[in-house]
Point group: C2
Chain length 585, copies 2
């Protein structure tokens, strides 16, 4: 019992300071997060009285747990349903914000004469707004249920996904020193593949497992199971060289589809609050106030750039996507700060040893300043809109008005499923099934070296081992391949119906239609085969054996066609059920 | 983000295994705690496949957090009110259990030829039952609200306090190698003093502070404040060389008097569940199954001894304290296991390097076995009572019956405040006030070396510094000294009224009564002065100055008498208010 006293002492200091400061900042009506960071600065080694923490590494480790719980909670609040609802506007606004802020950050860094890697990371640090701060500020101001707030949450979700892509890309750039378009595409493709497969498989498995556990009504069991899934999945993600933040976010998003979402949120909240407090304190620990004084000028410039840049970029994006000027201004004013993701990106740079030491404290300082302004900016949105409206030259106001009218005229007037929406739906289904097939073959290729040691007991010849592995992968992916074929066929039929008009094709209409709807799926399946062959290069059997395997597979498909269709339909229904189930109140 | 992967991996392994095992053991209707320990054994280094944990130290540290949260939760469930209600019976039963089990454990150890320190620790390991297991078992069996369950909880509370005393004494014995009655008395006296002062000061300060924080309705703020108090107090306790378990328990007991008890319990539960899971897994980690095989014989003997010994000792204690045979049997059957405290005591022995390595795994094995039997024993209590009742010889049954009747005749028939209860109340008040006075002088003596550095700026002469410190302590304790004087006087009046009867003292009755009621308080105050002088030996001014200080103090008391009385009354009322306030639902 008497070892680890140093650790308890550290924890006591952190929690005691955090406790005092959270009350103080609440009285001053400032965000508590700022308080935690301030507590960290006071405790930290750079300020008097002295270093109060003995074992900084352990506290940092606990802070990392804070990141896990923070991202997990964000994931729980993420919802594919919500994303679909605000979809297009959120994507346009988030993209316009991220691209512009990346560029502004890079330019500012270059203007100060920093290295291109520092400038790039600065851009990434400025790109993403802080979900935590925004959610807190909006709920403190009582605006959480307003329409613009829903849009802001959509933007934040898109940003979270893009931020994760950015983390992956930045790691790649930092390690290779450059960004080739090919590598970027492959990286993003892999990420997309991984996320799709995780979401599909996860949503099929995890909510069902949790339903089973939750039947016991024991909070302890549910919590331990949730944590087991959470950390287990994080481990898998880390083994695949992605960040733990991605893992926690994804598994949170998967659990968001569980019927017991609210119970889980309730159980996780204290863990998140306790450890995110430690995380924000560790940020303060790393902050050397002298650096802030030395870099006062860049900090001021970057703070102004973040506020103005985000209002303009995100507001403009929202407006261009078809919202009115007032909403656009409110959205822009709300997202005008940086937060937890910026710290994660800044510490990524430090960990990979590609950024200078001053970047982290600058990020923290800018985040603190912009966080400080957030509530005032949100409240100032409406007055500023009115003043701008009055001050705007009539011609400019006219142009804006005409743009809104033109966008409005583009929108489909009825809610019927259009050809476009049907096509989109089928294409999405094909993509998901292809992703699953690709993941199966990639997974088997990845595991081949381990499996062949095991297989060597039964099959000694190396080509035969490959046949076993490849056929196994093919067998598992059969239901999805059959689904791809069937969806492609229905897509081809739909398109043939539309594109081949009797007016033009005359009496060949139905013949051409049939030709298209038969030919397209076959050509596609050849394409799918080539894709699979490319992905599973390591375990692809030699040509002769491959043909034999394919013939067997064809026979099998003929025999098991109905079974494959049924399996796939069952899974699809299960997925849809989980999606459509509303969480218990 | 990429450092600490080893740690996340460890945590993932622990939580994933714990998650699977908790579900499994719940299906098998076995206590989840056993599942955690089993998971630890599987993960641990002694069983195949291999060591799955990389950084055992960090996991152990997290497990220690589990002890903190576990003890804190126990403290929250502890309640002075509840203790007063079942008071006498619980104390008799717990004392009889602890004394008998200490003796049985020591004798078994000696019989196996173990060292006397091993035997002593074995006795201590067997002495305390497991609150966690009992609470879980009773609530799973739906017996939590029964009368005997309330009595069991009372016994557990008394055991918790005695266990903490035992921890302190064992540390002392382990460090000095022996137990002199004087040292034991001083140690226990200090512990009692520390606990009394912590409870009084804590209950005056902490619930009020939490009420203030809770007004914000922010769960995050309340949680962080609670954790701040919890770890801050633990730090103080550890600095005073007590165990962190004691600190967590005491601060929990203090917060149990808060109006927001249920909110706090709700917020702490996930932290406790998550980290106590880790704690129980770390117990499994330390378990080498080979030792269990090597020590199968002692384990079997000790298991039987625990079950039979606890049923007999605790059941007999309950019966002797005046409960019927059925209740006594149910109580005995319920407490017949060992648990978390046994691990804490066993690991204390390991940490202090005074016990052999085999003691810990034996404790774990016996705990696992007795835990396994607990639910069956609780259910078997009633049938066994009936069978025993039928099998008992008539003379023995007569003796038991007469004992019960005799005890019943002793009890006061009315609920009026008796002389005894009034005396008890006044003595308790005097004791608490004396404890506060003693704590003030001890605290100032303890802080004197630091304070004199500080004082040296103003007062250079060493005797004068002592005068300043001692007068300061005296000034702070004035309200309590005045209270002691007034309570002693009323006690003396009460006793004089009873003991000096007019029949004997005749016309001197009132004179003698006045003499007693004046003399006793003055004599007592001289005694108090001597006590204070002994406690504050280090800062006691030289005789001449001391007399001057005392004269000044006498003058001050005369001037401030009413103010002192008012201050003390305010505090007493505040304390009583906090006690009598029911927690919000």
């Amino acid at each position: 019992m008497h070892h680890g006293i140093g650790f308890i002492q550290d924890l006591a200091v952190v929690m005691a300071f955090a406790g005092v400061v959270t009350v103080l900042f609440h009285r001053l009506k400032q965000p508590v997060v700022l308080g935690y960071i301030a507590a960290g600065v006071i405790i930290g080694p750079y300020t008097p009285p002295f270093q109060l923490i003995h074992d900084e590494a352990t506290i940092q480790t606990l802070g990392e747990l804070g990141v896990v719980f923070l991202m997990f909670s964000l994931g729980l609040e993420f919802s594919l349903r919500k994303l679909f609802r605000v979809g297009a506007t959120a994507i346009v606004a988030a993209l316009s914000e991220i691209v512009l802020m990346l560029w502004i950050g890079y330019e500012i860094g270059s203007a100060f004469g920093w290295s291109s890697m520092d400038s790039l990371f600065l851009g990434a640090i400025l790109a993403i707004s802080s979900t935590t701060i925004i959610v807190k500020a909006l709920s403190e101001l009582g605006l959480k249920r307003e329409n613009f707030a829903q849009l802001v949450f959509g933007i934040l979700i898109v940003e979270d996904i893009l931020a994760i892509a950015m983390l992956v890309l930045l790691s790649g750039i930092a390690q290779t020193g450059q960004l080739s378009a090919g590598i970027a595409l492959i990286t993003l493709g892999k990420l997309l593949l991984f996320m799709t497969v995780s979401l599909v498989v996860g949503i099929l498995v995890v909510p069902r497992a949790l339903n089973y556990v939750a039947r016991s009504r024991s909070d302890e069991m549910l919590l331990v199971s949730v944590l087991g899934f959470c950390f287990g999945f994080c481990l898998l993600v880390v083994k695949l060289d992605y960040s733990i933040a991605l893992g926690a976010f994804l598994i949170g998003a998967i659990m968001a589809e569980s019927r017991h979402l609210h119970r889980i949120e309730h159980l996780i909240a204290p863990l998140r609050d306790a450890f995110s407090a430690i995380f924000f304190v560790t940020i303060g620990l790393m902050l050397d106030p002298r650096i802030l004084v030395d870099y006062a000028w860049p900090i001021a410039v970057i703070t102004v750039a973040v506020i103005v840049g985000k209002i303009v970029s995100c507001g403009l994006g929202t407006f261009l996507a078809g919202k009115d000027g007032r909403t656009a201004m409110r959205v822009g004013m709300t997202v005008s700060q940086i937060g937890e993701f910026s710290f994660i990106i800044a510490s990524l740079g430090l960990t990979l040893k590609v950024t200078s030491a001053f970047l982290y404290p600058i990020a923290v300082a800018v985040s603190a300043l912009t966080t400080l302004f957030t509530p005032y900016l949100i409240r100032a949105a409406d007055p500023i809109t009115q003043r701008l409206g009055r001050a705007m030259p009539a011609t400019l106001a006219n142009v804006f008005g005409m743009y809104s009218q033109w966008l409005g005229s583009l929108r489909p007037s009825s809610d019927e499923p259009t050809l476009l929406s049907m096509t989109r739906r089928i294409v999405l289904q094909i993509a998901v099934n292809l992703a699953l097939v690709a993941a199966i073959f990639l997974g088997v290729s990845y595991g081949a070296p381990h499996a062949s040691d095991f297989l060597a007991h039964w099959v000694s010849s190396e080509p035969l081992q490959r046949v076993v592995l490849w056929s196994g992968a093919l067998l598992v992916s059969l239901p999805f391949l059959v689904a791809v074929y069937r969806k492609t066929k229905s897509l081809a039929l739909l398109l043939a119906e539309v594109s081949v008009q009797p007016a033009k094709a005359g009496r060949f209409t139905s013949a051409i239609r049939y030709a298209i709807s038969d030919l397209v799926p076959i050509v596609s399946m050849v394409g799918v085969f080539l894709l699979v062959a490319a992905l599973s290069g390591g375990i692809l059997p030699p040509t002769g054996l491959l043909i034999a395997v394919l013939l067997c597979a064809a026979l099998l498909v003929a025999l098991l066609w109905r079974w494959c269709v049924r399996i796939h339909a069952t899974m699809q229904i299960a997925l849809r059920e989980t999606f459509e189930e509303q969480p218990d109140p």
